[in-house]
Amino acid sequence: MDFTYDDEQEALRDAVRGLLGRAYGDFEQRRKTVASEPGFDESLWQRLAEMGVLGLPFAEEDGGMGAGPVEVALVSEELGRVLAPEPFLTSVVLAGGLVAAVGEPEQRAAVLPALAEGSLLPTFAHLEPGSRWSATATAVTATRDDDGDGWRLAGVKEPVPHGARADLLVVSAALPDGGTGLFLVETSAEGLTREGYATHDGGRAARVTFAGTAARPLGEPGTDRTAAIELTWDTARIAACHEALGAMSFALDTTTDYLKSRKQFGVTLNKFQALTFRAADLYVSLELARSVAAWATLVLLDGAESQVGEAAARASLQVSRAGRHIGQEAIQLHGGIGMTAEYSVGHYTSHLTALEHLLGDGRLHLARLAAGVGDHDEVDPLP
């Protein structure tokens, strides 16, 4: 067992950290970026593409870098550290991941190289009003045209991450004969309406309405894709855990710096044991979460597909607990300034909350794990 990055991975991390540090090292720049449309920095997105980051998880024959979950994890952590609003998780890991997983060769060729070079931004339109985090779709339905060739979608998807800015939608929809299919929808298609808005953490989402909108099946038509959605969703959950780790790590660093510099009652706050002990507990939460997230990434890299769901649930549960602990305490230990929009730490808490609710919260993952407690004696992390 080995939890260390190799030289190439270290180099990638340093390059990404350098680029993101120049873009968002000053939190004011991040505030400006999320305050204007499309909510992220298009030029930074291009530079990430040039660095190869946007094609990381895709095969070289699909125009990608042929890298794996470890590289995705370390990029995610760096994005989380500066709270970068760029849609790496939703467009590359989720939407791109689904195209790579189930797309026909010509669909992969049309989407993945363009995504990798930054010229096409896809997103995954899956969440529905009332669906919570189900892998199946019900609010959007797919029907086959009378001639039997074309497909049309009807219904509402909301919230769709970056749904207004996206150039291409990967849409899940209930199939006429049961199951959930995946479709590609052009944003110029007739009968497609998009209403974008900002999310509480400065991200972007949209309400997307389909009214007899033409759609092309992703992969073999009429096939139930529930399993592929669940697996890609779990893959994204593991990446999101690393994004959260980056955010938690920054929030803890900022909080400890604050405790060392802020004076109250004539002394710096770190003279108060009630506060330093709470900071120590935050460190414990962070390190435990880091261990499980790193392990889940290795399961994704090496383990059987059947083990990925459980690993994602374990990492997500631990990160959910840690994210709430660190996020809430970071604000509390800062006092009033932690509540202000001008200061960074509250935004970290907001984003940690958003990540969890995009992909499934601690309760969901605890329920997944609780359902299986009788199936094993002990949990053994080693294969």
Binding site: F3, T256, F277, A294, L366, V379
Partner: protein
């Protein structure tokens, strides 16, 4: 990054697993599995079985019975022992006084004590804590005054675990009361507990058991050659020893086993023999504990993997703190699973209630100690805040 063990480490794990599950007497392992108290003879027999195979003191220098293992191999050895319900080698011997003598003792001391210590021919007790020197160890007051070829020791030690079995006791004693700092003027002294003037008195604990003791020294005359290392350098040796104590301090394997046993018991502990695991609140609590234990185990592996360069991984401070919290939490779950049957702690073997339910509360109460000894969890928080976070 890599998930699996190397083939060599996987083979090593298999070797340990086989040894522990086939060579250590089943009756001893059953006693541990049931959570019953081990007798002195069982502890001694188990350690001698390990020592005969070179598995009692792997962390010692090779010439004194140690093994030239990697930190990961030592971790595997430690975890597999707990997994197989094998009693760990007596900590006072194997991880405390042994390494101190091997590192700082004279050649005569090494030859005289180390083989006997590894084989548990000598049962050591620890004489560090005093009534006014617990976590604040440097304030200890027991004195040793030089008189010719002997030290004359006076004072009192307390919380001496299993001191009732002790043949010898290793002590921190004040040899220079005028030293400018409290940490100075302390020496490390080995005392034969059968020497006149040594009195051991039991302390009864809330679980009803006799595990710790007070030890009184009244004009106890100790040969000068029993001083380890240099006079007044005892604090350095104690720090070295306490550093060793933190290795493997998170009882991951034992707590996992306790939780697995709790699940097995829960499967029939509901009304009419139904499974309590069907209760969603119980299932959620178990799942949460299993996840936290996984996080702890993986953190221990991260620490092990990174301590090869000789510097301890910062996350190692997490292990004692979280390890003992989880150990306590699992014992609390077991009490709750036992429910009203847990009241029958005083019932004998004729009881209709299962043994595990009768042991549940004494174990839970006994384990309250875990967050107090070995540097209380408040001390651990102080270390994390000060050393790691720089607060």
């Amino acid at each position: 990054m890599r998930l699996e063990l190397s083939p060599e480490d996987a083979a090593f794990r298999e070797e340990m697993r086989t040894f522990f599950t086939t060579r250590v007497p089943q009756e001893i392992r059953d006693t541990v599995a049931a959570g019953r108290e081990l007798t002195k003879d069982q502890i001694v027999e188990s350690q001698r079985t390990l020592n005969a195979a070179g598995l009692a003191v792997p962390g010692w220098p090779v010439e004194w019975g140690g093994q030239d293992w990697t930190p990961l191999q030592r971790h595997i050895w430690h975890e597999e022992m707990q997994r197989a319900c094998v009693p760990l080698p007596l900590a006072f011997n194997a991880s405390m006084v042994g390494p101190v003598i091997a590192t700082f003792g004279s050649q005569e001391q090494k030859e005289r004590f180390l083989p006997a210590t590894a084989n548990l021919d000598i049962w050591w007790s620890q004489g560090f804590s005093e009534p006014d020197a617990g976590s604040d160890l440097a304030s200890l007051r027991t004195t040793a005054v030089r008189d010719g070829d002997e030290w004359v020791v006076n004072g009192q030690k307390t919380w001496t675990t299993l001191g009732q079995y002790g043949d010898w006791i290793f002590n921190l004693v004040r040899t220079d009361p005028d030293a400018p700092k409290r940490q100075q003027g302390i020496s490390f002294l080995l005392i034969d507990m059968s020497t006149p003037g040594v009195t051991v008195r039991p302390i009864e604990l809330i679980d009803g058991g006799h595990e710790v003791n007070e030890v009184f020294f009244e004009d106890v005359r100790v040969p000068a050659e029993n001083l380890v290392g240099e006079e007044n350098k005892g604090w350095d040796y104690a720090k070295f020893l306490l550093g060793n104590e933190r290795v493997g301090v998170a009882p991951v394997g034992a707590t996992k086993r306790m939780l697995a046993a709790a699940k097995a018991h829960a499967a029939t502990a509901g009304p009419g023999g139904t499974s309590l695991l069907e209760d969603p609140l119980v299932a959620a609590q178990v799942a949460e504990l299993e996840n936290e234990l996984l996080a702890l185990e993986l953190t221990a592996l991260r620490v092990v993997a990174h301590s090869t360069d000789g510097k301890p991984h910062p996350a190692s401070s997490v292990l004692k703190l979280k390890g003992t919290e989880l150990q306590q939490a699992v014992s609390e779950l077991v009490v709750d699973l036992a429910g009203p049957a847990s009241l029958a702690s005083g019932a004998g073997a004729g009881s209709d209630l299962p043994e595990w339910t009768r042991l549940a509360t004494p174990t839970y109460l006994n384990l309250r100690k875990a967050s107090i000894y070995g540097g209380s969890n408040e001390v651990q928080r102080q270390i994390i805040a000060g050393t790691i976070l720089g607060l």
